[in-house]
Structures are given as structure tokens and as C-alpha cells.
Point group: C2
Chain length 150, copies 2
DNA sequence: AGCTAATCTGGAATGATTCTGAATTGTATA
DNA sequence: TATACAATTCAGAATCATTCCAGATTAGCT
């Protein structure tokens, strides 16, 4: 999961063309998996790998991958959206100071069947996040550590 | 919690002036609590209550309340942000078809102490969401029920 | 009643994302 | 290996929720 071969295979199976742009984006997503990079970072990193790639393509590709369930999009509005290849259910710990996003494995068990029975809601994707301060930012003086407002 | 008196009291205590605009916004938030309304809805509803209020004020007020911990902001980028007064930890079930947001009470317990010990991360606010289809939208034919892309 | 910092306002600015339509290219097929 | 064409890429324009601005108004205090 989240290695070049498996992704390339997934793309072939879904009939998505393999282009240099897409391969570059995939590489960035793999290399920076822990960072949960945004479109800007992905664009700049991908540019180092191949001669030509446009921001439009980056957005189109990330949208396509996300829609196909190959990656996951974390949406924000005061901050670039962030993308991750870790599709396993996990909690993202998001630092309000520096925007760092840390994966936290935890068996969060909402039983889809129970939820459906109670509310009629059919669960598909989850978004489990906690906002707070990472080790580094928790250290800094209170006044000057907020970047994300919330 | 989430009644006019308690909120007004909270504002007075925090030294936030009571203006007609703010009171109107508070009333909307209370009346439409279940809807998790966006800034647009809040603006239009508030306009029915008082002669003059601008969208700028609605945004400023919601931002202020959110920052002060009086309400909570749910951030999106393909959809207006949504606001809620239910500060208790709960899961929001978000319908990808119609955008409806349903509160779901569930004892999702990540132990802050344990997380801090493991990762150094200091948890403050949570955002627990599941995306899927509400009872109504789950019924409709697959092709024509998606509004939220993700 | 007067003072003043806080608040409100309409309009302009922002900025991430989406859209557009023409040019390019990956891949299936012969 | 060449051909065909739908898929993909591209630069630039458009979108639109949100934020910023600077001047006008006002809540709450003395
Ligand atoms: Mn993650
Ligand atoms: Mn809720
Ligand atoms: Zn941090
Ligand atoms: Zn629905």
C-alpha cells in the first residue's frame, strides 16, 4: 500500500493513463506521505522531477485520484487542502501552530450497521481529526504560535 | 447550553458587546442548530430579523465566536463552512448528496494523556466526521445524488 | 450627555480551486 | 511501426467564499 508498483497497478486497472505528470505526483505523494502535502508543495516537488507540469494538472490529478479512492483529500478553507495516501482509518492530529499533520493509529469503532439502523445514514468515508499543538509548538510562548485560526 | 440566556451571559463575561447583529446571529444559530447552517443561510435568516446587517459582519461575528469557543466551525472548501453550537464531542454525519449534517452521539474516546505521551501532541478540539448518504439520498439512483465531490 | 474603543458597513481584494478550449500524448489497434 | 482518437495537459481566465479596508456608527461606561 502506497508504493509505486501498487499505485501504478491500480491506475492501469482503472484505465487511467500513465503520464509523466501523474508518475511525478505519485512519487511526491509517496516520498512526502507523512507530511500530508498540499497542492502547492506537490506542484513544486513534481517540477523538480519533470520538465513540464502545470498547477492545473496537479489539481486535476489529485481530484481524479481522490474521486477514484486512490488517495484522500483533507479539506480546509484557511489552509490549502492536504492529500494523503494512508487510506486506513486513522486519526490525523493537526497542529494549529505549524500545520503539521501527524497520523495516529487508533481503533475508533463506530459500527456502520448501528449508525444506519439508528439514523438511516450510510457511512462511507471518515474524517477524524484532532486540533492542538505538536510537541514543538506546545513549547513556544502562547502568544506566538497560532497560524491556523479555527 | 445553546440557549439565548447562556450565550448572552457568556458574551457579557467575555466583554463582547451585545449588538442587534450579534443577537440576531445567535438566534439563528439556536433556531437552526440542527442544520449546521453556513454563513449564507445565517446572513439571510438574520436579515429577516433586523433591518441592517452585512455579510462582513456575519463572517466577523462567526469568526469571533468560533475563536472564543462559543461555537464551532466546520471547514470545507467545496462547500460553505458550517457552524454549530453543539460543543459536546460528537460525530457529524455529512451527506454527500444533499449536504445535510446529522449529529451522532458516540463515546469516541481518544485519551489525551495517552496521545500526548505517545506523540507529544496536545489535543484541544476534535473534528469527527463521516461522509456518506442520508436516508433520503441513499434511496435515489446512484448517478444523480452526488453534490459534494470529496 | 459625552467619550471612545469596539463594532458595523459596502466595496475591493484575496487566493485556492475550477473552468476553458486549444494543443499534446498514451495506448489500443492494424 | 504507423495511425487514430479519447484522454490528458496547459496557460490563463473565472469563480466564489472569505478577508481586508477605511470610514461611519454605536454599546456601554463615567
Ligand atoms: Mn493521515
Ligand atoms: Mn454537529
Ligand atoms: Zn506544530
Ligand atoms: Zn442527503
Amino acid at each position: 500500500m502506497m508504493n509505486r508498483e501498487s499505485i501504478v497497478k491500480a491506475l492501469r486497472e482503472k484505465g487511467i493513463k500513465l503520464t509523466p505528470q501523474r508518475l511525478a505526483i505519485i512519487e511526491v505523494l509517496i516520498e512526502r506521505n507523512d507530511d500530508h502535502p498540499g497542492a502547492g508543495v506537490i506542484y513544486r516537488e513534481a517540477r523538480k522531477k519533470i520538465r513540464r507540469i502545470s498547477l492545473s494538472t496537479v489539481y486535476a490529478t489529485l481530484g481524479e485520484f481522490s474521486r477514484r479512492g486512490i488517495i484522500k483529500t483533507l479539506q480546509f478553507d484557511q489552509m490549502e487542502n492536504r492529500y494523503e495516501g494512508n487510506l486506513a482509518e486513522h486519526v490525523n492530529l493537526i497542529c494549529k501552530g505549524c500545520g503539521k499533520i501527524i497520523d495516529y493509529e487508533a481503533p475508533i469503532s463506530l459500527d456502520p450497521a448501528k449508525v444506519a439502523k439508528k439514523t438511516g445514514f450510510q457511512m462511507l468515508d471518515s474524517r477524524l481529526e484532532y486540533y492542538g499543538y505538536c510537541r514543538d509548538c506546545a513549547g513556544r510562548p502562547k502568544g506566538k504560535r497560532d497560524k491556523i485560526l479555527l
